[in-house]
Structure formats: structure tokens, C-alpha cells
Symmetry: C2
């Protein structure tokens, strides 16, 4: 039984109101993998990097106990590079540079040792690659979580709709849910999106938390109010990784467990934004995580018996 995450491993250069970085390690698979590693001992990544990524950087990931045998290292090529600048509200950002590099021809390889995969996160990539990944698994996983973004709705909507038919949980943000459904009301949007295939829809609302729709129910998860959001990069990926890691650890996928998984994912995402890149996320103790979970319980509990 293992948990597979496919996504990008990248170099990022980030500018926020609090400062800016040179090239640092980033990418959806990096954040999601590290987040999941705290909740699951058997995390396997599928990704591609260039020769410039270097052994030291790959070791940062390996040292979290993550299996990188599905990470291709392309000789003579360069790692995917993204550079962006966040505005004061931290909800909007400008992309300054996107150098696809190795990502342009990414053809995912799933080693034989990955074939026992029961839980998979299809991180934000082209829907074609997300679908190809599922097709390269001999068995259908017990749980398929898919993360995507507005860009793929703009340029590859039909492909996205095809992969959605094979997905159990879809995670997108509120404006993406509105775009995908054509409905402003998130309740109506969820109805339409769930009819496209997923059994559960998680709508991420950044500082406003997240909504879960499925089994005819709705769950509203809070976000931890933070004095400073230092760098939001990777928060959504950390959320998805924590979500999957928790579900793989409890082994039963239902509405109640997904509610808890969202809190675990939110807790890990709340660490991610405290420093640049993976600096905070990669250096957590189990007690840090437990304390943060207690903060979420305190934040949202009340005592009404109706």
C-alpha cells in the first residue's frame, strides 16, 4: 500500500511584501510530498527535474523519507522555473517568469515499485499528463485526488473534463469553481461540478478556509488567522498533500474522514506560509502539528445543543 504524488519539482523565485528569494526549491510535488510525509511513511513522488537540480536538493526531499525513484533527472536539461510576485493582499500574484524546461516534454514514469499505489494525488499539471498517469497504473487506486487550476480550464477544458470522470476528490479554489461551473453560488457550482465525476469537491478559499461538498452534505473548515502570511507559495499543495496523507493513514474515505483530512491539510498549509518556500514546512515536529491541530479545534468549536 503506498501513496503516490505526481506534480512539479521546481525552482521558484518569489517576491512578497516581506522580501524576495533567489532560486529556491518549490513545486507542487515537493510541497505535497513533504506535507504527506508527516502523516504517512510510504510517500512516492513522480516528477522530472533537470541536471541543475542537484543531488543536495533531491536529498532534502529524500531525507523526509520520500521515495524519489519516480523522479526523472534529465541530463543536460534545466529544471522547471517559476518566478512570481505577490501583492499586499497575498491572494493575487503576478507571474514574472515561467520556464517550462524539462516540464515541456514530461512523460511520467511509474516504477514497478509504485504499482501497489492505493492513494494518488494528481497535482496541478496538464490534464493529459494526469490522465496518462492513471492509465499507467495497472490497478485503479482506492482514492484519486486531483488538483488543477484556471489555466487548464482555459486551454484544455475537454481533457480536464475527461480526467474529472475518474477522480474521487477535486480540489480547486472558489474562482475556479465558478469558472468550471458557470455558477456564482458555490452551492450551485458544487452541484454542477459533482455531476462531472468527482464524489467530493473541496473549494479552497485561502484566508477564508475551505468548503467540502459530497454525500449531500457541506462542511465549512476555518483557516487559521495569521498575523503575517509570509509566502503563500505551496499552501494549496501542502493542503492537498496533508489531505491525502491523512486519508491514506485512516484508510477509509468518507465524508467524516475527509472533514478531518481537510483540517490536517489546513494545519500543514498554515505552517507552509510562515516562511519562504519549504523552510518551515520541511522542519516540523509531530508536536508542532499536534499543537496546530489543537489550535484549529479551539478556533472552530462552540457549544450549542440544538
Amino acid at each position: 500500500m503506498s501513496l503516490v504524488i505526481i506534480g512539479t519539482i521546481a525552482f521558484d523565485a518569489v517576491e512578497t511584501p516581506f522580501g524576495k528569494t533567489d532560486k529556491i526549491i518549490g513545486g507542487a510535488a515537493t510541497y505535497a510530498g513533504i506535507a504527506a510525509s508527516y502523516l504517512n511513511k510510504d510517500v512516492k513522488l513522480v516528477a522530472v527535474v533537470g541536471e541543475d537540480f542537484g543531488v543536495d536538493n533531491l536529498n532534502i526531499i529524500k531525507n523526509k523519507g520520500i521515495d524519489t525513484s519516480g523522479v526523472q533527472v534529465n541530463k543536460g536539461e534545466k529544471t522547471f522555473f517559476w518566478s512570481g510576485k505577490y501583492h499586499t493582499d497575498m491572494n493575487s500574484r503576478d507571474t514574472l517568469v515561467t520556464d517550462l524546461n524539462v516540464l515541456a516534454d514530461f512523460d511520467p514514469i511509474l516504477p514497478e515499485s509504485y504499482q501497489d499505489c492505493e492513494y494518488i494525488l494528481l497535482g496541478n499539471l496538464t490534464p493529459q499528463i494526469q490522465l496518462k498517469t492513471l492509465e499507467r497504473l495497472k490497478n485503479t487506486p482506492k482514492l484519486v485526488v486531483l488538483d488543477t487550476m484556471n489555466f487548464w480550464m482555459d486551454v484544455a477544458l475537454e481533457d480536464l473534463k475527461n480526467v474529472l470522470k475518474r477522480v474521487d476528490i477535486l480540489t480547486i479554489n472558489d474562482s475556479e469553481a465558478r469558472q468550471l461551473s458557470g455558477e456564482f453560488s458555490l452551492v450551485k457550482a458544487a452541484e454542477i461540478i459533482l455531476a462531472m465525476g468527482p464524489s467530493y469537491l473541496i473549494i479552497k478559499k485561502g484566508e477564508h478556509g475551505a468548503l467540502l461538498f459530497g454525500e449531500g452534505q457541506i462542511f465549512s473548515a476555518p483557516a487559521l488567522p495569521l498575523a503575517e502570511v509570509f509566502d503563500p507559495t505551496g499552501a494549496g499543495d501542502s493542503f492537498a498533500g496533508g489531505l491525502l496523507g491523512y486519508l491514506a493513514s485512516v484508510k477509509t474515505v468518507n465524508f467524516n474522514n475527509i472533514k478531518n483530512a481537510i483540517i490536517y491539510g489546513s494545519a500543514l498549509a498554515s505552517f507552509c506560509v510562515e516562511k519562504f518556500g519549504i523552510e518551515r514546512l520541511a522542519n516540523l515536529t509531530q508536536e508542532d502539528i499536534q499543537a496546530r491541530l489543537r489550535a484549529f479545534v479551539a478556533l472552530s468549536s462552540f457549544d450549542i445543543k440544538a
Copy 2:
């Protein structure tokens, strides 16, 4: 022991994507009073209307068991009139008409029978009138809740700061909290605003719920996701009325009780927006309210023991 609410009683004409109304009963005191009336049997209003308001309209309020002996009826004058149009997102609106009419010279009268007031809501009015109301009470109430808006921060900031010194709970929305504090982070904004006087700050975030700050703690309350928000007018006032009504019924004002009060207020506000004006809010059964409270419990509960 009684609960006093001062605010506007108005005629509103509202246009939303779902339709438009002729002149209907509105006003902060109307909404707050009706909401509070479900949780408390001793609600007293302070307000002013014109002769055009009519006995039938006043009876709608009286029939909820609300004491209107503090509502002045100014002969030969016209009731405050507001007309607005909501945009698709229902969070922004254009004010089309504001005819102050009787409100221009409003000088609140607190009848002798109101002097046992222990719980008071100073609804959205000029800070000068809010202060004058407190000064006309012989005893300091046990709880003062103040609602205000960005307009008073623009034109009467010093007066507002004066009345804030005498307030226990302040309710404003997120953009108002940012304006009043000069801080974007709501955590930092709360710190600054609490230093201005209130012991507790409630930041209303519309469809994203509300945050409570005080006693060094934070509580995040969800909003009920609705398929259709028919008319948001009065939601904030219904929230404040429900909040005060609950606190007056439990008689102890502390962080835990304010958390519950926010859920009661949110439940009443969630009814308010389902129809135009007070149509839905004024026609609730106790079982309707209990069912809605159960929906809030289901919406936000999860089972993590950290």
C-alpha cells in the same frame, strides 16, 4: 432587565438579481429587533419614523412582542428612505437614494420604562447619537454592542473613537476593520481595534462567516452556504440582534457565550437573506431556528482529538 436596540426604522426599495421591491419596511432597528425577539421577550426599540410609516407597519413590529414606546412618530414628516441595487456577487451594492427625512434631526428619547436596560445595541447611526443614547441611560448597561460602518470612519472618526471607549463588543466587516486599524492582516487589525476600547471585536465576512477576537483568543464562525442569497439587506442587523438577544438570554458575557451568540446571530441572518426585506425573518418558528442551528453544528463540526 431589558434589551434596548437603537437604530433606524426605514422604508427600503431594493433591487437584486432576483427582482426588485417597492417601498418595504427596513432599517437596522427593525431587523435587529425582530431577530432579538425570538431569543428574548423584553426587546425595546429606540427609533424615529415619519407620519407616513403608518400604524399597520408599526404593528408588524409590535406584533413580534417588541416595545415601541421609544419609537417617535414625527407628524407631517417622512420616514427615512434608502434605495439600493445589489450586484451579482451580492457583496457590493450601489446606493441609489438616501433620503434622511426624519433621521436628519433624530434626537433619541429613552422612556423611563427603558431605564432598566442591561443589554444595548447601538445600531448603525452617527457616533454622536450612539454616544447620546448611552448618556441618557442613568446606569451603565452590562453590555454595549456597537455596529457602525465605513461612512462614519470617513466623516466622524474622532466621535466614533470616543464612543468606542464605552463599547464592549464592536461588530464591523473586514474592510471596515482594515480601514479603522490601517492594517491589512485581520489579526493585527483586531489588536489595534481592541486597544481602542472594545473588549471583543467581531469581524463580519459575509459569505465567509465571522471572526471573534477577545480574551487573547480567536473564534472562526462559518456562514451557511446558500444556493441563493435573495436579498442581503438587513443581514448584519439581524446578526447583531440575534447576538444581543442570545447574550441577554444567557446573562453572562464571556468569550464562550459570545461564540454561541455569533452562531445564533448567523442563523438568524441566514434566514433574513432568503427573501426580500423582513418577509422571511419576521415569520420564523422556534423549530425553524433550532433546525438552522443544527445545520450550523453539522456544517462546522469535525472529530479531531489532538
